[in-house]
Symmetry: C2
Subunit: 310 residues, 2 copies
């Protein structure tokens, strides 16, 4: 059984120092950071505020004072953070947030979240929480204790969608599909005409997209394999400024059986009524963000076939 | 954070040979089998058809031609099976079924199901399935390929209940509670007056019960720790012969947020309408049983607190 963990790990680090401009660092600096978790840079786009790197294992966004790196599979993202801390000392770090979602197959992961944060906290003072139940979808978060005031327009919305169905599954599960067919499905070119896009099709399956406009990004990663399909979407857009419900657009497009929404200083959200809330949690993190984790699912009483594994 | 995996592993092995009586084997034989997965026998009850051992890590039932062993925590149950196969050759085994449910923390388990069955299938021809989605509750099953005809009254019903609430949680989460309070909660003495009971309270929490009558058993294992409470119930009773809905009685007693039902040649079942079906699957195993796996959950849109882990 071929298996690919579309598991998401994420780090966001802020360095507020007028003398430092992370975006101006040599590409080789980021190549080395990315390499430390066994990923590589596939391509990149940039503007004056933001550089977006498409990685073999997801994405990296770099602005003057901040970088956001998202990785999947069996990457050890914490190693990239430790590498970054060799150049920028913990004292220079104003904010660090490290997240890991529940894995499909935790036993295949090279480290656990607890191991990761034990390593991290040797260098950075922080605390950690689990949002969601152990036996259900959940998200782990570690954050620095240092006082931090986020910019007032600093929003993040993440969607983690499982078991996509409908037209999207058919298109995405076609081996070596054309990039135009997937763009057509997502409708993002049409919805965000002012954005610059960079996307990539993995062989035989898998699709990644970065899109940027000024200091705002959208990113999407799709592992469409039947039985374990997984799509993640993330943006730092202020959703209330859009004329349409972007998150609901994503959920409607992929029509997942179940999905999670994670928000940081998030906008008020709503989804199609056919989803039930299975878990709802919220926390005011001492690092200045309000974080929410909600887990949704459809009722599903259609008799399904088991998966043969031997 | 103290953590105890109430994870269930289960094996059922049938040896149909008039010359062999598993129940008549020395207690030392079963002590050795149990020891191989790092468990011990706490106590036992028996009648002419069945011996029931209460284990430090769940239960063992032995009749003339069959044994059923259920273990939890970080036990490596497959080691007990391999030990049994040192005395009874694979050729003597008419049926073997090995199950593992999704673990709370798979990364803490000493072996994965796939590793277990790779070891097993060096000795026994079998096949394996996953019932349920990887990202949700699921159950793995390995079974022998040998043709097997189960007795017509050979039923098994298993309930795996998560996040118990209501009065039950309050009683069970009281440290060093009295056995009578828990028996009162379960009502099993009243409902099954003809059964012989054997139960045990672990310190400071945890409760196990075996009950037998002729060749029928009931067993219940409770790890009530807040945030990760788990209760498993299993019986080989023919539920259609009872004057009450036993499975619904268990679900109503514990009022879990979510639960799974697993059936082998199961009876028609029904539960309180407040639960939604999230997964429903069924398979006709070539070893003669029809197995079902259903996963249920309540809607839960009450804002919950995250769990601090560092």
């Amino acid at each position: 059984m071929q298996f690919f963990e579309g598991s998401e790990k994420k780090v966001e680090i802020v360095v507020r120092d007028e003398a430092i401009n992370l975006q101006k660092l040599d590409k080789s600096f980021w190549e080395n950071i990315v390499k430390k978790c066994n990923a590589t840079i596939i391509s990149s786009i940039q503007n004056d505020s933001l550089s977006a790197y498409l990685l073999s294992e997801s994405s990296l966004f770099v602005s003057k004072d901040r970088f956001v790196m998202i990785t999947c599979g069996e990457t050890i993202l914490v190693n990239s953070i430790l590498e970054f801390l060799k150049t920028y000392s913990p004292a220079q770090i104003d904010l660090a947030i490290f997240q890991r979602k529940n894995e499909y197959q935790a036993n295949l992961q090279k480290t656990s979240f607890l191991e990761d944060i034990k390593n991290l906290s040797k260098l950075i003072d922080g605390q950690a929480f689990r949002m969601g139940d152990l036996d259900g979808h959940h998200n782990y978060i570690f954050h620095t204790l240092k006082p931090f005031t986020p910019p007032s327009d600093d929003y993040t919305n993440e969607l983690l969608m499982y078991h996509i169905t409908s037209e999207a599954a058919k298109i995405l599960q076609t081996p070596n599909n054309k990039i135009d067919n997937i763009r057509e499905l997502l409708q993002l070119n049409r919805l965000f005409p002012e954005f610059k896009f960079d996307d990539y099709i993995f062989s035989p399956y898998g699709y990644s997209l970065n899109a940027i406009n000024q200091d705002r990004y959208l990113t999407i990663h799709i592992t469409p394999q039947e039985n374990n399909s997984y799509v993640s979407f993330e943006t730092n857009l202020d959703l209330s400024q859009l004329s349409f419900n972007l998150l609901d657009h994503m959920v409607t497009t992929f029509n997942p059986k179940t999905f999670d929404h994670i928000g940081f200083n998030f906008n008020k959200i709503s989804f199609a009524s056919e989803y039930f809330t299975l878990k709802k949690s919220e926390i005011n993190l001492t690092c200045g963000y309000t974080m929410s984790f909600n887990h949704y699912s459809k009722e599903n009483d259609i008799l399904s076939h088991p998966v043969k594994i031997l």
